[in-house]
Symmetry: C2
Subunit: 381 residues, 2 copies
């Protein structure tokens, strides 16, 4: 991992290899050295056929697509043998190699994609008239292993590894964007049993959605209205406003991390590059290098948020971290790459649940003031 500094800037920062799993799924290794040769290890398991792919069903009431993938309900919940560890002896996992730095493989229980014909046709954004419209759930779901160390956590990764992870996500974004059946690439990490994480090994996921997601549609509609009204970029104006405001949590020359004015979650931090890029594939190397230490600092602040509360041992902060990226084929000139990091923990031992108001009506209530949340995070280290 420390070989990066010996690499001249003209050489690639990441070396990619691609192998196959027993049921035909792909596994990719992202290495910092040219001679790792991990893809040559074969998957010796007997996995049988891939799970049947699911459906997308159109909800005419909210004008949204829902992935219905009954096969996923059988997926393992905190299995004893970790499928994300490297394979070792008779312990055969999803990663055939005996070691890896960062590895990506197709999800065995995908919400999108799987065993279906590669149609290449994108899903229509808005359903045609009709009350029961469905299409095959094309797209792609991948698992991103951040480390071969089962007990690691993202916050404990060295900055060089975080850089490799971001480069990996950038490569996968570029590759999935070229598939033809992916309309938007979403790279994310769910952390903590409080939000349903079924595998503890440090990992994230990539969803290659076959449609543009509802929130992104709203964001880009708002950005289009803002450009129409002001001639400016909405995200750029928001960032400029927040950079000098009371809700900045951490910042460096190239990135700003802040709690937004109208945060929905008790702890919600948005990390914006100070310049506009449509997606990770466009992100320059210096932004990747500057992102790693800043994000690690924000994650440490998350974990430290409730350390001062001696009334209980809160444990690691549960969080969801997701990259907002431009759709593959539309409005790329409006979008602004950014990471959204949110936690459902509202106090030590207290969780914000999305109950009827949020889930049924979409009406959000945030019990912690955004300025107070920013202050707590600034004071956390």
């Amino acid at each position: 991992m420390n070989t990066r500094e010996e690499t001249s800037v003209s050489e690639p920062r990441v070396y990619t290899e691609t192998g196959s799993l027993a049921d035909g799924r792909q596994v990719h290794y992202f290495n910092t050295t040219a001679d790792a040769r991990r893809a040559s290890f074969a998957d010796k398991r007997d996995l049988g056929e891939r799970a049947e792919a699911g459906q997308l069903r159109y909800d005419p009431l909210r004008d949204e697509w829902i992935a219905v993938s009954a096969g996923r309900n059988a997926r393992p919940q905190l299995p004893v043998a970790c499928p994300l560890c490297p394979s070792e002896g008779h312990e055969l996992t999803e990663i055939p190699a005996p070691d890896y730095e960062v590895a990506v493989f197709e999800n065995r229980f995908p919400s999108f994609g799987g065993a279906l014909p590669e149609t290449g046709a994108p899903v229509p954004e808005t359903g045609a008239p009709g009350l029961e419209i469905s299409v095959p759930a094309t797209g792609r779901c991948e698992v991103v292993c951040f480390s071969s160390q089962h007990e690691a956590s993202f916050v404990d990764l060295p900055p060089e590894r975080v850089e490799l992870v971001v480069r990996t996500l950038a490569r996968r974004t570029a590759d999935l964007s070229a598939r033809g059946d992916v309309a938007q690439v979403f790279c994310f990490e769910n952390r903590g049993v409080e939000i349903g994480v079924t595998l503890h090994h440090p990992h994230g996921q990539i969803y290659g959605y076959p449609y543009v997601t509802p929130h992104t549609r709203r964001h880009l509609e708002a950005a289009a209205r803002h450009r129409e009204a002001t001639g400016r970029n909405l995200f750029g104006d928001l960032l400029a406003s927040e950079r000098t405001g009371p809700r900045v949590v951490a910042a460096n020359d190239l990135w700003t991390a802040f709690v937004p004015y109208a945060a929905r979650w008790p702890f919600e931090v948005h990390l914006y590059p100070n310049e506009r890029f449509a997606d990770l594939a466009e992100l320059p190397e210096e932004y990747i290098s500057a992102f790693a230490p800043l994000y690690l600092e924000v994650l440490r602040r998350f974990d430290g948020a409730f350390r001062a509360d001696a009334s209980c041992e809160p444990g690691p902060m549960p969080y969801m971290a997701g990259w907002h990226q431009a759709p593959v084929n539309e409005h790329r000139d409006l979008a602004w790459l950014r990471l959204e990091l949110v936690s459902t923990r509202r106090a030590a031992g207290k969780v914000k649940f999305l109950a009827s108001s949020e889930s049924v009506m979409g009406g959000f209530v945030n019990d912690l003031g955004p300025e107070q949340a920013a202050r707590t995070l600034r004071d956390a280290l």
Copy 2:
């Protein structure tokens, strides 16, 4: 409670009394007899001032209002003494009377309303240009106690009590709609610690939102498009399609309960009256009488869904139940009153979490096929 049958149809089915709590909040009693005299009991507690009201902040990225009410973060979590039981001796609660049938009081920790001037001005639906827009969080939050029995559960109420609850919600809907600062009335019940219920006493809530909620806006936009395209009501067409389909869970002459074609949740049932009404205040008596046994049957089917799984004792099904009602002042001719009942439990001992895809992107994945969910519920009794 059984006096209802002695009441002639020309007499009112519900007798209402209104009293005050120590900090000025209102408490309403809904009785089946004319002479209950519960409002005369005084609240002898020293509650001090009411909590400061919160703010609504406008999110320019999703064009939505967020309620920011930091005072709520201090609310009790499963307190030892139940504030929803009737007052008895030195045990003074939110209900001053020593007994009640159905009682409603203003939430002490409201997301909307509270200690603020009654502006009477509705919140604008879409924010003016500007990145940091806030208004006082007007509106109203109420708690609805379904029974004075602490250990009861909605599913165990007799049908006559369910009728009284629905009549109560209808009255409160009418009263809140007349306030001037309420744009939409939402009556709901959250059940189960799995979704964050902090009080076990059987109760629901009413939110008098000062804005039209995001999901309702989407529904009515879709209904307007559908009317434009077909001349018909979208909800009526959906109901007609579902009534003869494979996802009906229960039905009678006046109501139909079905799992929708594009369900988002593992268990999601929509209960439609077979005719269109804008809200509960419009619902005729015969629909109220027909609703009670059907809803109780659906709740029993929810609780029975995982009984067959001997591998664990699943306990009572967690659920969210919310009434979709028309906004107070707009599109009432498009809306169709209905109850949405959803559960996050996807299998015995397994919960569907809204993690990054749903929470950050709005992309829903349903791991249980809607037809399979309907079959499970039909087979549950």
